[in-house]
């Protein structure tokens, strides 16, 4: 087995020896080096994957608690109510402060500890080097560092539940002045964010250098699979959009710990007392800095998902992706535009008309690339021989679900319609459609799809379909009624779900239905969890390309040894990524490395 690959220019890095010696294939690396502090992108990808899935489950559980409260306000939490302290839920009845913690941390954990680490840290790390024919990421040690920094950030976030008065309560958005005067948990949230942002930045540098520099011979940019393209754009977004939030985090920490007034206006009165601060700050400054990141962040959430869905659709339609080049240009354009739309989250802050016009225009424009991508994927289905495998079911469902999420975003992107809808359940419905039956479905699809690559076995298809149908129906049950509640004017982040407002009378009854759907959704994750673990040992064994796919990751040795080195033979690339059903070819797929 070849130990390394010759770079094109013919020179090898001299004296990598000391770095490689511990994974020299005659010496077994220690357990710690092999599984805990590994620099192998596949191990790191799995570390990110397991950690992220645990956080997703935890973040989901927080929401399950919230949904109980929303359906049955003031009722003690059943079965596990006794677990909660008097500070959080005395007698099992949730306190508003605890509800707020759950809300803020649900959002934070799902976005920053669940979806992004899974979509980028796990899938990106594991698959991208394989898809471009590289032996590893460009900076393996940096890769390892970025995982552990992420892990520390996650621990800080979890630990924040244990401090007096509990975790952050000012939303995942941490708006001042509230966030400035909140309890210790908010400070821990800020420190946690600093670690998570740093981890993302290190990862972003690694992805960009890897994709630009380590593509195999013949792998031109336009022969790269769409999944790798989405990771490239995502990495650029993370690199350039996160630092202003890091800056904002520093400023808010300074406000909380050093009593500065970056975000505190003059003359602020709290509980009847004028605050003894210098004033002169602006709460809006936080919002601008926060959303400067947080808008590109939502594209970080969706782009890898689009990438995964594209891979699976091409593979399971046995067709090239319709308009691949157009899709690539679209996501590049999307990435650029994502930096100049952020204030559509701020239409109700007293914004003047000229600025709001600017942001409405850019926001309308940015809807176009998403439509192009979705259209391309739909058009690929036309005339296709569709294989309804489990990953394909999730990928197919992604299309209309993301479509619905995107469409419901349009009234939010226009100021006149946003004004009554801002901060209502409508917004929550909109973004959950995009993230839950959108991104998370794509991530499930990716797990079912790439599981044989990692383990050499397929997951059980029946359990997969049960997981799919149950989740699909339940998710719609949770999120669709939110649009009605939002249109009626029910605000988000309300501890009683809107029960104390007369105007909500007609839509409050949905809460119980939505919560039951949430409990059902939880139940339908059980077949997935069972399937995931059971198939490691009991799944149907398959060869290295069970889906008969064209991209390079399917040519690497199945379940590669967890040491360095991905390819038995260094691949060369001769064709585009989705050459399915090429007229005159021997089979209905032509792998990229086939001359």
């Amino acid at each position: 087995m070849t130990h390394g690959i010759e770079p094109e220019s013919g020179g090898m890095a001299v004296n990598e020896g000391h770095e490689a010696s511990e994974d020299h294939h005659h010496e077994e690396a220690s357990f710690w080096r092999k599984y805990i502090f590994s620099t192998d992108h596949k191990v790191i990808g799995l570390q990110y994957g397991f950690t992220a899935l645990l956080f997703l489950l935890f973040g989901f559980s927080l929401m399950i608690l919230m949904r109980w409260q929303l359906a049955y306000p003031g009722e003690p939490i059943p079965f596990i109510g006794w677990l909660f302290s008097d500070e959080t839920a005395p007698g099992g009845v949730m306190l508003p402060e605890f509800y707020n913690q759950l809300g803020a941390m649900h959002g934070t954990i799902m976005v920053f500890l669940g979806v992004v680490p899974l979509a980028v840290g796990a899938f990106g790390n594991y698959i991208v080097p394989l898809q471009i024919g590289a032996p590893d990421m460009a900076f393996p040690k940096l890769n390892m560092a970025s995982y552990w920094v992420f892990a520390v950030g996650g621990l800080i976030m979890l630990a924040s539940f244990m401090v007096p008065a509990g975790a952050a309560k000012a939303g995942w958005t941490s708006y001042p002045p509230l966030s400035n005067i909140e309890t210790m948990g908010q400070t821990m949230w800020l420190f946690g964010m600093v670690f998570l942002i740093t981890s993302s930045l290190l990862g972003a540098v690694n992805f960009l250098v890897t994709i630009i520099q380590l593509r195999a011979e013949g792998m031109t940019y336009f022969r790269m699979p769409f999944f790798t393209w989405t990771q490239l754009v995502t990495a650029l977004l993370l690199l350039l959009a996160f630092p202003p939030l890091e800056a904002a985090g520093i400023l808010q920490l300074s406000d909380r710990l050093l009593d500065t007034s970056f975000f505190m206006p003059s003359g602020l009165v709290i509980s009847g007392e004028v605050l003894d601060i210098s004033g002169g700050g602006s709460p809006l400054l936080w919002q601008h800095l926060f959303w400067f990141l947080a808008h590109p962040e939502v594209y970080v959430l969706i782009l890898p998902a689009m990438g995964i869905v594209t891979e699976i659709i091409a593979n399971n339609t046995r067709k090239p992706i319709w308009g691949l080049k157009l899709l690539i240009y679209s996501i590049i354009f999307l990435g650029f535009m994502s930096f100049i739309v952020w204030a559509h989250h701020m239409f109700i802050t007293g914004m003047g008309t000229s600025l709001s016009t600017f942001f409405q225009i850019t926001t309308m424009i940015i809807s176009i690339p998403s439509v192009i991508v979705l259209s391309g994927l739909f058009l690929t289905l036309w005339g296709a021989s569709i294989r309804f495998t489990t990953p394909m079911m999730f990928a197919l469902a992604f299309l209309p679900m993301f479509g619905l999420g995107g469409l419901t975003g349009l009234p939010l992107g226009l100021a006149p319609t946003d004004i009554p809808l801002h901060d209502t359940l409508y917004v929550i419905g909109h973004f959950h459609y995009v993230v839950a039956p959108g991104t998370i479905f794509a991530l499930f699809a990716g797990i079912y799809y790439w599981y044989p690559k990692v383990t050499g076995r397929k997951m059980n298809d029946t359990l997969g379909k049960i997981h799919f149908w149950g989740s699909f129906i339940a998710m719609n049950g949770i999120f669709f009624p939110m649009f009605f509640q939002g249109l009626a004017g029910v605000s988000r982040r309300l501890y009683d779900g809107g029960a104390s407002y007369d105007f909500a009378e007609g839509v409050i009854h949905f809460n119980e239905f939505m919560s039951i759907s949430a409990f059902i959704l939880l139940a339908f994750q059980v077949p997935f969890i069972i399937n995931f673990f059971m198939s490691i040992k009991k799944g149907k064994k398959v060869d290295s390309n069970p889906w008969e796919a064209t991209t390079l990751e399917w040519t690497a040795t199945t379940s590669p040894p967890l040491g360095h080195g991905n390819f038995e033979e260094v691949p060369s690339v001769y064709r585009g990524p989705y050459e399915y059903s090429v007229p005159g070819a021997d089979s209905d797929f032509s792998p990229q490395n086939q001359p």
């Binding site: 630009i212 350039l240 202003p244 809006l284 601008h288 400067f292 930096f339 100049i340 204030a343 007293g350 914004m351 003047g352 008309t353 000229s354 600025l355 600017f358």
Partner: protein, 108 residues
């Protein structure tokens, strides 16, 4: 730049480095002098930014070898500065365009 440089190449570069250092020193003095004149805000801002950009540009072009650097690096930097520009522009615009605020326009 892992290609080997001939000694003459590097000697020429060293001359450039010293000239750049001298220019930077002079420009720093100019910066402080202009600062002490206490110009009104707009001319002061433009002067400060122009001088600082020249200084920064000299460091970037010569010390950081940007003059001979590859396109990709340039494009990355241009992209970054475009986003930075939008951030500055929109923050200022956001402040000035608020409803009901008669612009406390110290800039115009």
């Amino acid at each position: 730049m892992s290609e080997s440089h001939s000694h003459e190449d590097v000697q020429k570069h060293i001359k450039t480095y010293l000239m750049v250092f001298a220019s930077l020193a002079v420009l720093t003095i100019v910066t402080v002098a202009v600062g002490y004149i206490h110009l009104p805000i707009w001319p002061a801002l433009i002067a400060a930014l122009v001088i600082a950009s020249i200084k920064g540009g000299l460091v970037g072009a010569h010390f950081m070898h940007l003059l001979s650097e590859k396109k990709m690096i340039y494009h990355l930097l241009i992209l970054t500065f475009v986003f930075l520009f939008f951030m500055f522009l929109l923050f200022i615009w956001a402040y000035n365009d608020q409803q009901g605020v008669h612009s406390l326009l110290i800039f115009i």
